[in-house]
């Protein structure tokens, strides 16, 4: 039982680390928002597993509050990205906004 909880915590931690890597290096702002969404959802899973591990059901309340706050953060960032024209989408977009059109063609093959 405790062994299974440890395995599940390890697997979830792997997902969290992968989400953090994507949030760090994601080429566009939308990638970072998707990674933030996944990280908050996985933090709900971690708090539920802590409730199992520490035998204390109060950690589920933490998970509920995290789910609420995470949804609000996702909606807020998505609306901000959609409305604002000031946020550059990625490096290439930032270069285009400064008038450097030479970057456009070669780096399209990057993805």
């Amino acid at each position: 039982m405790e062994f299974a909880t440890n395995i599940a915590l390890g697997l979830t931690a792997f997902g969290l680390v992968a989400g953090c890597i994507r949030m760090f290096k994601g080429p566009t702002a939308a990638d970072r928002i998707v990674a933030l969404d996944l990280v908050t959802i996985l933090l709900v899973a971690v708090s539920s597993l802590l409730a199992l591990r520490l035998d204390n059901s109060a950690y589920l309340d933490l998970g509920l509050a995290l789910a609420l706050v995470g949804f609000l953060a996702t909606v807020g960032f998505a609306r901000y990205l959609e409305i604002s024209t000031q946020v550059p989408l990625d490096d290439e977009d930032a270069a285009l906004q400064q008038g450097d059109t030479e970057l456009k063609v070669p780096s399209r093959e990057k993805l």
Partner: protein, 134 residues
């Protein structure tokens, strides 16, 4: 017996969480990455919370767990839809192998394999690029 059910549920949920992270890391494009993270992540968390409610087996904990699951299943599609709409309207670059064939989609005979090998990137983000930084 209870412990076995709880162990199976939480290990399955952890596996789905790890698959979601792996998909977020490896897939090529924002919309495709969203596919991995939203579906697999929500399913993994749902399984884990279900396992916790089986372990405690009191009405208060089961209510909280069902509340978490219902809330996640309601909000994850809404959040994913909002991110996808924002990314599409800002003119995100699609994966180079993404194909859009409007006429074939309308008649429902979308080819499983692309037949037009001469033009490898039809319609990928050409008119999206002009529209978003004006």
């Amino acid at each position: 017996m209870n412990d076995i059910i709880v162990s199976i549920l939480i290990i399955l949920g952890g596996g789905f969480a790890a698959i979601a992270g792996l998909g977020l890391l490896r897939l090529p494009d924002v919309l495709i990455r969203m596919h991995a993270s939203t579906k697999a992540g929500t399913l993994g968390v749902g399984l884990i919370v279900l396992g916790v409610s089986v372990y405690f087996a009191s009405s208060l904990v089961i209510t909280k767990a069902l509340l978490i699951i219902a809330f996640l299943f309601l909000t994850a599609p809404v959040g994913a839809h909002l991110i996808a709409r924002a990314a599409y309207r800002r003119g995100i670059r699609l994966w180079a192998e993404t194909r859009m064939e409007d006429a074939a989609m309308k008649t429902g005979s979308f080819p499983a394999k692309p037949t037009n090998e001469n033009s490898p990137h039809p319609m990928v983000d050409h008119d999206l690029d002009e529209s978003h930084h004006s």
